[in-house]
Structures are given as structure tokens and as C-alpha cells.
């Protein structure tokens, strides 16, 4: 686990022993010294790749404080520091409205998918009924279906209901649970002690009470993972916005940012400073989300191994 710290820790003490070891084995460096070199190299590699991974963020934030003509100068510290872009971006685009729309959609989508997926997961985890196995296999199988197959009929459903152009198709499918979260939550709920629920039942609690008062509170860790995953998925969802949102006033931020790229990018007016700033504003909430929910995200990704 802590290869580097261990090595650093023993480094001082081992200097003397290393000297002895070298003296004893004059042919080539000792094992310990070689592993210290290896640790130093891997730390250097980590720092180098770390810089590569962070640099685009730094570049983006830095560019957002530069005037139009200097966006591309690739300086880390802006030559002319300006806050104008952060004023202009709200005037050039209804960014505040887009953020509001996205918050609405995200809250509705995340809460509804979490609650309904938990219900379904509990149905699969707790009850023993005929056909449970095949039905759950169907849940898993539906995850394999490419979105492209259901995309068009789903559009036609919302079109028939007169909902195209509104925010409803952006989240309402989440009222019916989602296979991935059902799978995740079922796994978690299977690990809860069954006696607890049977005891509550004997005490006269109904199935819904057991679910609402005992299962949900106990499932808080996995609920947190689900909420965070879904918030991220909805906040960054471009495709649905392209399909369902027509009027700029209804855009979510990814859809809005795309319209800005169209208007101000290569095909448009080349106002890169506006785009850069809008990108920062769009991305920042996700970075904040990460730092607020880091534990859940890292645990969630590592243990479930999904969200590719």
C-alpha cells in the first residue's frame, strides 16, 4: 500500500546498512537501492502525468481571464488580466436560465431515479417470488441495449404526448428506475441482515413501512452513490438536450454550451473567450460535486466498476 512512504521511512536507517550491503556485494547496486530508484522514478512519472491531466483545466481557467486576442497565447498567467468575460458571458447567452433549467432537471432526475430504483431493487432483494431470476436477468440484459435502438421510439412517445420542447423528456423516464442503479442497490440490499426486516414485520410494520423506515436509512451509502452518479450523468447529458430542446430558453447547460460553440466557434464568430468562460462555468459545478462527494464517487466507481 504505502511503498513510497515505507521506503522513505527506512531510507535514513538503511543508509548505513546499504553502505554495508554495497561493501558486501560490490557487484552492482543493492536491491534496496534499486527499489528506491524505482520509487523515485514512479513518483516522477506520477507528477509528470499529473501535470498533463491538470493542465487543460489550468489552461481553460487561465484563458477565461484573458481578453479575446490573447486566448490562444498559451501563457499560464494572463498577460492582461480581465474579468470582462465573466460579465459578458451572462449577457451573450442566457446562461443563468440554462443553469436553472439544468438544476431543475438534475434534481428531478436524480431524486426520482434514486427512489424508484431503490423500490425495485428492494423488490428483487427481499421478496421471493416465482420468475424472480429471469426477471432480474431482464434488468441486467436491458443494460446491454444500445441507446440508439430506443432513442427514436422514445422520441415519438414524447412527441405524441406533446412534450418535445419541454424539460419533461429530460428526466421523466427516471420515474421508472434505471437498470444500472437497480443492480447496484440490490447488491447492497442483499448484504443487509434479513432478520431485521422479519422482526419489524412481526412487530406489525407493513412492507412499505419496512422499506421507508428501515431499508432506505440503512441504504444511505448506496443512495449517495446513486445520487452523485445521476447528478453527474444528467448535468453532462448532451444527446437528450439535442433531441428534445428547441428553444434557447429551455436549454440545459450542455445543450446551451453546444449552441455557443456553434455560434462563437469555427463556424461562427470566433469569440473563443466567451466559449472558454462558459466552459468554466459549466464544468465548475461538477468539480465542486467531485470534491463534496469524492468518497462516494471513488468508492462507487471502484467497487461497481462501471460508469464507463
Amino acid at each position: 500500500m504505502s511503498a513510497v512512504t515505507e521506503r522513505l521511512g527506512v531510507a535514513a536507517a538503511s543508509d548505513a546498512t546499504a553502505a554495508r550491503a554495497v561493501a558486501a556485494a560490490p557487484h552492482g547496486p543493492s536491491r534496496r537501492r534499486r527499489s528506491r530508484i524505482a520509487a523515485a522514478i514512479s513518483l516522477a512519472l506520477l507528477v509528470a502525468t499529473g501535470i498533463v491531466f491538470v493542465y487543460p483545466f489550468v489552461w481553460l481557467v487561465s484563458a477565461s481571464f484573458k481578453p479575446r486576442g490573447e486566448v490562444f497565447d498559451n501563457r499560464l498567467i494572463p498577460e492582461t488580466f480581465t474579468l470582462d468575460n465573466y460579465v459578458a458571458v451572462w449577457q451573450e447567452a442566457p446562461l443563468a436560465l440554462w443553469l436553472l433549467n439544468t438544476v431543475i432537471v438534475t434534481v428531478l432526475a436524480a431524486t426520482s431515479v434514486t427512489l424508484t430504483s431503490a423500490m425495485v431493487a428492494w423488490g428483487f432483494a427481499h421478496f421471493r417470488f416465482r420468475g424472480r431470476g429471469p426477471l432480474f436477468a431482464l434488468v441486467l440484459g436491458s443494460m446491454m441495449l444500445p441507446g440508439a435502438v430506443t432513442m427514436i421510439p422514445t422520441f415519438l412517445i414524447w412527441n405524441a404526448l406533446g412534450q418535445v420542447g419541454t424539460l419533461t423528456p429530460m428526466w421523466a423516464h427516471n420515474l421508472f428506475g434505471s437498470a444500472f442503479y437497480i443492480f447496484l442497490m440490490r447488491q447492497f440490499m442483499l448484504s443487509l441482515p434479513r432478520e431485521l426486516f422479519d422482526a419489524a414485520r412481526v412487530d406489525g410494520a407493513g412492507h412499505w413501512q419496512v422499506f421507508w423506515r428501515i431499508v432506505l436509512p440503512l441504504s444511505r451509502p448506496i443512495i449517495a452513490v446513486t445520487l452523485v452518479f445521476e447528478v453527474q450523468a444528467v448535468w453532462t447529458d448532451l444527446m437528450r438536450g439535442l433531441i428534445y430542446l428547441r428553444d434557447s430558453a429551455t436549454f440545459t447547460v450542455p445543450r446551451g454550451l453546444k449552441s455557443l460553440v456553434d455560434a462563437f466557434g469555427f463556424g461562427g464568430e470566433w469569440h473563443w473567450e466567451i466559449l472558454v468562460t462558459a466552459s468554466v462555468v459549466t464544468t465548475l459545478p461538477m468539480i465542486v460535486l467531485f470534491f463534496v462527494a469524492q468518497r462516494h464517487i471513488i468508492q462507487g466507481v471502484a467497487t461497481t466498476g462501471l460508469k464507463g
Binding site: N74, F127, H173, L238, K258, V261, V301, T303, G308
Partner: protein
């Protein structure tokens, strides 16, 4: 009692049962039907038999989109696995620093794909982008990543490596699950570092690697957001680049820009079959290459 249990279960399952019927089962059936029709949403669908499929196989843009997509996936998936494995191995021996660098590697994954697509245009810009600036510093004359058809896809692949974060986390978890005794006994048997990696580490983490390969292949075959942002859409008519015309992008254009719903549905079914076939091949190969604990290898 039994019966009441069943009714209770049905109550809990009902959201998914309804959702599955409305948003999965019916769309599958209806999409199959639509693929045999001409339908533009405004007028009634007319049945045309297999002609959408015949047209599709003769459409040079479909072949181009399919070729672009396969190229992207075949190049991207192995690089994705190698880079995420390399980073996970580095993290695994980084000790206390690993928490910090884990965050660093994961953060790009939080960036909305639209912003990634836009960043691609800026960072990979041929004249004054950061990438070519860096290449120039070491004396390399970088290509026009965002305009030269030969370099658009490689550029998009490189950009996609920025978001390897979740794969790194998965592989790191797998690496930490390898029992220390295995390394100790391998060392006692005189295995060197490379040997230990090849005959202990790789087999032990092969289920996680396989998982990443399958998931990323499926995702790669449906790649859309970044390339669409950078090269297609309302304002980009003068700038669109056919080298970035991926399959789902063309499908999306057919469906929602040209309102060829029948044709796009046929395209969706072809994609579905391609994905199923490739996944099936991977599953078969995995029987030979993936080591599952407890199973005979």
C-alpha cells in the same frame, strides 16, 4: 400469505415493469417495425420492406461512418487500457501520494463531454494550440489535428485518454485485491519484476481488464458527444469534417436533422447487431484469456 407477498413484490417492482414496457420493450418492437418503413414524423409511415437496409448497405456515408467508428474503437480501446493500467500501477506503489493523484486523474472524468469536445478544438488547434506548441518546443512540426482528415481521429483518441479516470480507479481496486502472498511466493521462486507482473498481476486483474475492454468497446462504438460538439451541428456546416463522422452521429443526423426515422431505425439495428457480435466474440475470447478466481484457468 404467499399471495400477499407476491402482490407486495409487484408493488415494489411496478416502476420498473411499467418503465420496461414503455421505454424498452415497446421501443424495441416499434424500432424494428420503423426500420421497415419510411417515416418523417409528419406523414404516416409507409411500409417499404427491406429497402432501408438495402439503401443503407449502398450508402457510402454509412460505410464511412462505420469505418471511422471501427478505427476509433480499435485504436482507442487498447490505448485506453494500457494508459489506465500504467497509471493504476503507478498509483498502486505511490503510497500516501496515491490519494492525491487519484483525484488528479479522475477530475477530467467530471468534465462535461461538450466541454471536452470544445477543449479538443482549442488544445489541438493546428496553428496555435497547446499540443502543437508543446511539440514545437521539442522540434516537431505538429499536424493540423482539427482539420486534416488523417489526424482528426488520432487527435480525438488522444483527447479521450484524458478521461481514463474511472478505468484507473477500477484497475487500482483490482490491483489492491491481489493477495501479497502471491508476490512473495513468486519472488521466492525467483521471479523478477516483469515475470511477477505477467504471471501474477495480469491474471489476477484480468476480470477487471476484460470488463474495461467490453464497456469501452461498447461506448467507443457509440461515441458521439465530443466529436459532434467539435465538428457538427448548426453553425458548423462549413467546418464539419467527415473524418469525424461516427456512426451514431450519422444516425442522429438522419433521425433528427433529416427526419428519416425509418432509415435511422434500420441504422440502429445494424449497430445493435454489430455491438452484439463484437461483444459475443469478446466473451468467447475471455473464456481463454480471463482468469476467474476458483475456476480452472
Amino acid at each position: 400469505m404467499k399471495r400477499r407477498e407476491w402482490i407486495a413484490a409487484l408493488g415494489f417492482l411496478s416502476p420498473w415493469l411499467i418503465g420496461f414496457a414503455v421505454f424498452t420493450a415497446w421501443p424495441i418492437v416499434y424500432s424494428a417495425y420503423l426500420s421497415l418503413t419510411d417515416y418523417d414524423v409528419i406523414n404516416d409511415a409507409t411500409f417499404v420492406g427491406w429497402s432501408n437496409y438495402q439503401e443503407l448497405f449502398a450508402d457510402p456515408k454509412v460505410s464511412l461512418a462505420l469505418a471511422n467508428t471501427l478505427f476509433f474503437t480499435v485504436v482507442q480501446v487498447p490505448l485506453y487500457v494500457i494508459v489506465s493500467l500504467a497509471l493504476a500501477l503507478l498509483l498502486n506503489r505511490a503510497g500516501r501520494a496515491s490519494g492525491f493523484f487519484r483525484t488528479v486523474f479522475f477530475l477530467p472524468k467530471m468534465t462535461p463531454p461538450v466541454a471536452v469536445g470544445f477543449l479538443f478544438l482549442l488544445l489541438f488547434n493546428g496553428q496555435n494550440g497547446l499540443i502543437n506548441g508543446g511539440l514545437a518546443a521539442v522540434g516537431i512540426d505538429g499536424p493540423s489535428w482539427t482539420t486534416d482528415p488523417a489526424w482528426v481521429k488520432p487527435g480525438l483518441v488522444i483527447m479521450s485518454l484524458w478521461t481514463v479516470g474511472s478505468s484507473v480507479l477500477i484497475l487500482l481496486a483490482a490491483l489492491r485485491g491481489v493477495p501479497e502472498e502471491l508476490y512473495e511466493s513468486a519472488t521466492l521462486d525467483g521471479a523478477g519484476a516483469w515475470r511477477r507482473f505477467a504471471s501474477v498481476t495480469l491474471p489476477m486483474i484480468s476480470p477487471a481488464v476484460f470488463f474495461i475492454v467490453v464497456v469501452n468497446t461498447i461506448a467507443g462504438l457509440q461515441t458521439f458527444d465530443e466529436a459532434y460538439t467539435a465538428f457538427f451541428g448548426a453553425g458548423n456546416s462549413t467546418y464539419s469534417n467527415d473524418a469525424a463522422l461516427f456512426y451514431v452521429i450519422y444516425l442522429f443526423q438522419q433521425a433528427f436533422e433529416f427526419l428519416h426515422m425509418g432509415y435511422a431505425s434500420a441504422m440502429a439495428w445494424v449497430l445493435f447487431i454489430v455491438i452484439m457480435a463484437i461483444t459475443a466474440v469478446q466473451m468467447i475470447l475471455s473464456k481463454r484469456l480471463v482468469h476467474y478466481e476458483g475456476a480452472a484457468s
